[in-house]
């Protein structure tokens, strides 16, 4: 789902100062949300896969063996006795190994990009919601402007201009996705600003910085965290789209996106080259989305009793 729409289903009622010190109960509630738990397991598996890639890839992800090109899934290499579980691509590279290494790029791009864009959006949204007036107008017009551009076109053009390096891709994603956070944050701050505990802090003479840091921020973190988890899924998909269009991290480094781009050229003869990277993107993104759903139910008091599907 596109993140900007999440505001519609976000927790609308904000709980006043959060209760701390019941981690076990909170964890039980989360674990009871079966899908969210599955999501967490999937995400952990992908992270482990990325961290320990060297330990369990059967073959080098970049070694080309023309003798073994375009072999279907389950093919047994008679010479080495190895089974090629997911087949090989047009250069005889092992798809299973490449998938495992590809997870690294997906995580290395999506996690920092989400962190940076959430930080930018959170800051601008806080300022817009808290100070209002011209500050709010400027931020909200910037948000509108950004949302007017088809994201992928803007990202493509920027990456093409700056060059498809890893830092550039992260930067471009971060700089083009912050509006959803700004919007959500601003909405939440507007609701909080009028609440008694914020008013009380201000009338006791707390500085703006102190009010924001101690009273406002802790209460808007949960919707932002939920949004960020959905955004991780979107980033993983968008990173692969960039790779598919030839502007992601460049070969020979295997990424799920550039594997799909390779697969497209052989779609008539070797469906497996494109099928598996897409499948793993979908599983990963679905896992992250499950997790986001679970977090939302956890943070939203109105959903508490229905969350355990």
């Amino acid at each position: 789902m596109d993140g900007s729409s999440m505001t519609g289903t976000m927790p609308t009622t904000l709980t006043p100062p959060q209760e701390h010190g019941r981690p076990l109960r909170t964890w039980r509630r989360f674990a009871r949300h079966r899908l969210a738990f599955c999501g967490l397991l999937i995400l952990m598996a992908v992270v482990l896969m990325a961290l320990l890639a060297d330990a369990f890839v059967p073959r080098s992800p970049v070694a080309q063996q023309i003798r073994l090109r375009l072999k279907p899934p389950g093919f047994v290499d008679a010479r080495s006795g190895q089974t090629l579980w997911l087949g090989t691509d047009h250069l005889g590279r092992d798809i299973f190994s490449r998938l495992i290494y590809g997870s690294r790029i997906s995580l290395i791009v999506s996690l920092p990009a989400v962190a940076i864009s959430a930080a930018i959006g959170l800051t601008l949204g806080l300022m817009a919601g808290f100070y209002g007036s011209w500050c709010e107008s400027v931020v909200m017009r910037l948000v509108d402007l950004q949302l007017a551009f088809p994201f992928i076109l803007l990202a493509l053009s920027l990456v093409a201009l700056l060059g498809p390096s890893l830092p550039n891709i992260i930067l471009v994603f971060a700089l083009t996705t912050w509006p959803v956070y700004a919007r959500t944050t601003r909405g939440a701050v507007l609701a909080l600003r009028e609440q008694e505990f914020v008013q009380a802090a201000r009338s006791l003479g707390a500085s703006d910085a102190r009010t924001l840091w101690h009273h406002v921020l802790p209460n808007i973190l949960s919707p932002v965290l939920v949004l960020a988890s959905f955004e991780v899924a979107r980033m993983i998909i968008l990173e692969s789209a960039l790779g598919f269009l030839g502007l992601g991290v460049q070969p020979p480094i295997p990424t799920w996106g550039n594997m799909l781009a390779d697969g497209r050229d052989y779609i008539r003869d070797a469906w497996w080259i494109a099928a598996f990277p897409g499948l793993i993107i979908m599983i990963t993104a679905a896992g992250v989305n499950f997790l986001g759903d679970g977090l939302r139910d956890l943070f939203d008091p109105t959903m508490q009793h229905t969350g355990s599907m």
Partner: protein, 305 residues
């Protein structure tokens, strides 16, 4: 509708369009390095670069260049496409109908399946319908659209040979691309319709309508759906940019000769006049659609008057 609202909202859109021209202009100038060298590539002679710099006005100060860009843009002049050697804007606009046809097809498919599924999910809460619809929604949101497109090609074009894999013209050419792009939106529509219906179904006017003895059909369509539609319409308006962005990728997969395909090719060929005009045309389109949605919303919702 108040006249004042129409005026402020229109001015806001104009401001956005102006800011968009600024972004599109700066797009070419934020790059490290000289745009003329970027366009011509590394093999160009210094004379060629100097020539292009002069014809693009790159030897003048930035604000003067922007002034020139804006006055030309207002007249629809974005320069010549470097590869096609024809005016960039008309080159891009010639492909607009194809993109609109694809987007409209996808949109119709997504709305016609998404809204009923979302309604069913809300009406039969926690039933198989509900879980099924939410699963479809989740799948739609977790799937890379272009991958879905490729898999559909494998199944329906390569193996079953029922539908063409690429091209445009006959209605059957539209089926796979529209389905692919529509899936992109379905998840969102199902979720929105469901939550919005759930919200509405608990309202007192629904109980009143039922108590009056109106048939369930009338209650659901006339009372519930009509009210549940408002948030769906607004968010869908906001998602137009995303839809057109999805069209860019979908067109590339199915070789659909629309603006997206032209733009992606132009980006690869460093044909900047085409990229600039395409990005701006799409942005203006999104701004205008949102303007229209807001005006319609304003007319539909009596509370806004």
């Amino acid at each position: 509708m108040t006249f004042a609202y129409l005026v402020t909202r229109s001015l806001q859109s104009l401001l956005l369009i102006w800011l968009a021209t600024l972004v599109v202009f700066l797009l070419l100038h934020i790059t490290p390095g000289d745009p003329a060298t970027l366009i011509l590539g590394d093999q160009a002679t210094p004379e060629q670069v100097a020539d292009l710099r002069r014809s693009m006005g790159l030897d003048r100060p930035l604000h003067a260049q922007y002034g020139r860009f804006l006055t030309h843009a207002v007249r629809g002049d974005f320069g010549l496409s470097i590869r096609a050697q024809q005016p960039a804007l008309s080159y891009v606009l010639a492909r607009l109908p194809a993109t609109l046809q694809l987007s409209a097809g996808a949109f119709a498919f997504a709305v016609l399946t998404g809204i009923p599924l979302g309604m069913l999910a809300a009406m039969k809460r926690l039933s198989l319908w509900d879980h099924g619809s939410m699963f479809v929604a989740l799948l739609g949101q977790s799937m890379p659209v272009y991958w879905l497109g490729l898999m559909l090609i494998v199944i329906f074009a390569v193996h079953l040979r029922w539908l063409p894999a690429s091209g445009m013209g006959q209605p059957q050419h539209l089926v796979l691309p529209a389905f692919t792009l529509g899936t992109f939106l379905i998840g969102l529509i199902i979720r929105l319709t469901r939550s919005s219906m759930l919200d509405v179904l608990h309202r007192e006017y629904i109980r009143t309508a039922r108590a009056k003895g109106l048939s369930e059909h009338i209650v659901l369509v006339r009372h519930a759906l009509k009210n549940a539609c408002l948030p769906v319409v607004t968010v869908l308006g906001l998602q137009m940019g995303t839809l057109l962005g999805g069209a860019v990728i979908t067109e590339t997969v199915f070789a659909w000769p629309g603006m997206g395909m032209v733009t992606v090719t132009a980006i690869h060929q460093r044909d900047y006049p085409v990229v600039q005009s395409a990005v701006l045309v799409l942005a203006v389109l999104v701004v205008l659609i949102n303007w229209g949605v807001d005006i319609v919303y304003h007319c539909l919702d009596p509370r806004m008057r």
